[in-house]
Amino acid sequence: MGARLLVIMVLVVGLLAAGLGVPLALASAAASQQDLFTNRLIDTIYYASSAERPLTEADTSQLEAALRRYDEIYGDAVLVLDTSGDAVVASRTPAPVLDENGRERVTLALARQPSKPYPLILPWDDRPLVLAEPVLADTEVRGVVVTISSTAAVRADELRTWSLVAVAALVALALGVLVALPVVRWILRPVRRLDEGTGRVAAAVLAGARPDPVSDNSGPPELRRLSASFDRMAEQVTQAYSAQRAFVADASHQLRNPLTALSLRLSNLHGRVDADAAEDHVAALEEAERLSTLLDGLLALARAERTVPLVPLAVDDGVDDRLEAWRPLAEHSGLELVRDGPRGLRATGPAGAVETVLDAVLDNAVKFTPAGGTVTVRTAVRGDHVEIAVRDTGPGLAPDELDRATDRFWRSPGQINTEGSGLGLAIAARTVELGGGQLLLELPSGGGLRVVARLPRA
C-alpha cells in the first residue's frame, strides 16, 4: 500500500510538472521562433523594396554587393528572382537551390500573398527558414526576394530551454517524493501498527495476557479511531477469553464441594444398602469417581490454556520419566514400548509440556492398540523444531477425524464407552500451542496413528 500511495503521489507531481513544463517549453520555443521569423521578414521586405530599382533598371551590381555583405555578416542567403522564378541576384555563388517549401513560398509571393508563418520548428528539423516577399513596382510584381536562414541557433536555444524544463520537472518530482515519503509513512503508520498488532493480540489472547495497545495517537484521525476501536476490541476479546478460562477453572473447583458431599453421603450408605442395591451403590461411587476425573481434566485443560512462562525443557528427562511410568501398563497390555531417535535434545515450552503431551498421547496409544502391537516414541530435530512423535500400531482414525481429534470432549464414535474424558489430546494440543508449537495427527503408511508434538528448539 505504501508503494502504491507513493506511486500515486509521484504521478500527481509528475502530471503537474508536465502540465506546467510542456506549455512553458512550447511557448518559449514559439516566442524565439517568432522573433527569428519577424526579423527575417523585416529584412526580406527591406530587400524587396530596395530591389525594385535594380530590377527595373537591370543594374544589380550594387544590390548584389549589399546582399553579399549581409550574407557574410549574418550567414543567411538572399536571392532575388524574376517573375519566372529564375535567380537574378544571389548573395553567394553558386546560388542556393530552393526546396519545395521555398518554391511554394515563391509562388505565393508572386501571387502577392503574405508570408505564411511557420509551424513550430522542432529541434531535429534542420530545414532552413525560407521567406519570400514580392518586389513591387506600382503594385506590379517584378520579382521575388527570398531569404534562406539557418534555424540552428533557434533550435539549439529550444533544446536548452527544454532540457532546463525537464531538469526542473525532475527536481520537482524528487522534491515531491521527499515530501511524499514522510506523509505516506505518517498515513500508513497506524495501518502498520494494526498489522503488527493483530499478530501480537492473537498471541496475547492465546497466552491470556493483556495485549499491548496498537494505537499511539499518530496518523490520520480516521485511522487513529480505527486503532482505538481495534484496541477496545482486543481488550474485550482478551477479557472474554480469560473470563471463559476462569469460568472453567472456577466451575471445576466449585463442583468439587457438592461432589464431595455426594461421595460422603454415598460412603455413609456403605454396608446399609440391601444386597440387591449394593451393585447400584458401588456404581454410584464409581460415577462420582468418574465425575471427579472429569473435573481434573477440566482443570488441567484450564491450566493448559492459561498463560505460563516458557522454559527450556530437557526432552530426554520428560520422555524417560513418562516411558517408565507407562511401561508397566503397556507390558501388561502386551505392548512393546520403544524409545528411538537422538538424545540430548532441548526444546522450549511450558514447564512439564513433554510429560503432559506424552501422558495424553500414550494414554490413547496404550488404550487402543491391541495386544502384540508396538508403541514407538521417537525424538527428532526438524528445522528449528524438536519433534516428539508417538506412533502406535492400533486402528488409527478415519482421515476426517484427524482434525477433530484435538477438540475438547471429542471421542471417536466407536469409543464413547471407553474410560476417559476426551480432553487428553485437547490438553496436549493447547499445551504445545502455548509453547509456540503444534500437535499433528498423521496416518502413517502401514497403519496405526502417529501423533507428533512439535516444539521450538531451545
Binding site: 464441594n257 460412603s267 481434573d296 508397566p328 501398563l329 494414554d363
Partner: protein, 225 residues
C-alpha cells in the same frame, strides 16, 4: 478423638459429621475461619477447608500453627501442586483434595494424630507388619511369604507398604498414586491396577490385597469383615 471441622459448606459438614461419628470421633464445627484458634481446646485434629468466606484458610492454618501443636489436615478443592505446597508450608500436617473418600480421611486423621503422639512420646513405629503370613519389613524393604522371600519392584513394594501401614483402612486410588508415584496422570489408575495384580500373583495370596470398588484398595486382615 475430637475433631474441629472448619468448613463453610453446610452440606459437606452435614455429610461428613455422621461419617466421622461412626468412626468413633466427636466433632465441633466452625463455618468461619475467624475464631478457629480460640476453639482449639480439647481438639485432637483440625480439618481445615481453605475456601472460607471470611479469611483465607492458609492464614488460619498459620495462626493455628502459631498457637498450638495440634495436627492440621487441610481439605481443599484446590488440588494443584502449588496449592499443596503452599498448604504444607503454612504448617499443615497433611493435604487432602476434594472429593475424598471417608476411609482415606479417617486413615489420615489417625496417621497425623499418631505421628504427633509418637513424636511427643518416643521414636518407633512398627517396622514390620505381618498379615496372614506375609511379612512386610518397612525399613529393610523386604517382603516374605512364610519363609520364602519375595522380590518386588520398588513401586510394588511402595504400594504394599502403604497398604500395610494403613492397618486395614481403605487407601484410595488417588492417595496411593500420589504417594507412590508423586503425581497423577491419565493412566495412573490402570497402572496401579497392574501393580496390584502382580502383587497378588507374586505374594500368592489373592485375597490379601482387597479391591474396594469405586474407592481403592486395602489389606484384607484375617477376621475383618
Amino acid at each position: 478423638m475430637h475433631i474441629l471441622l472448619v468448613e463453610d459448606d453446610d452440606r459437606i459438614a452435614a455429610a461428613l459429621r455422621p461419617a466421622l461419628h461412626r468412626h468413633g470421633m466427636t466433632t465441633t464445627r466452625l463455618s468461619h475461619g475467624r475464631g478457629a484458634v480460640d476453639a482449639l481446646a480439647g481438639v485432637d485434629v483440625v480439618l481445615l477447608d481453605l475456601g472460607l468466606p471470611d479469611v483465607d484458610g492458609v492464614d488460619v492454618c498459620r495462626a493455628i500453627r502459631a498457637a498450638s501443636e495440634v495436627p492440621v489436615i487441610v481439605v481443599s478443592a484446590r488440588g494443584e501442586v502449588d496449592d499443596r505446597i503452599l498448604g504444607l508450608h503454612s504448617g499443615a500436617d497433611d493435604y487432602l483434595v476434594k472429593p475424598y473418600d471417608i476411609g482415606e480421611l479417617v486413615a489420615r486423621v489417625h496417621a497425623v494424630y499418631r505421628r504427633r503422639r509418637v513424636e511427643s512420646a518416643t521414636e518407633g513405629v512398627a517396622d514390620v507388619v505381618e498379615v496372614d503370613g506375609v511379612r512386610v519389613d518397612l525399613t529393610r524393604h523386604t517382603v516374605a511369604v512364610g519363609d520364602r522371600p519375595v522380590t518386588l519392584t520398588r513401586k510394588e513394594f511402595q504400594v504394599l507398604a502403604l497398604l500395610a501401614s494403613s492397618g486395614g483402612a481403605v487407601c484410595t486410588r488417588n492417595r496411593i498414586v500420589a504417594e507412590v508415584w508423586g503425581r497423577t496422570w491419565a493412566g495412573a489408575n490402570r497402572t496401579l491396577d497392574v501393580h496390584v495384580a502382580t502383587l497378588r500373583t507374586k505374594l500368592g495370596r489373592p485375597e490379601l490385597v482387597q479391591t474396594v470398588r469405586g474407592v481403592g484398595y486395602r489389606l484384607g486382615l484375617p477376621g475383618a469383615e
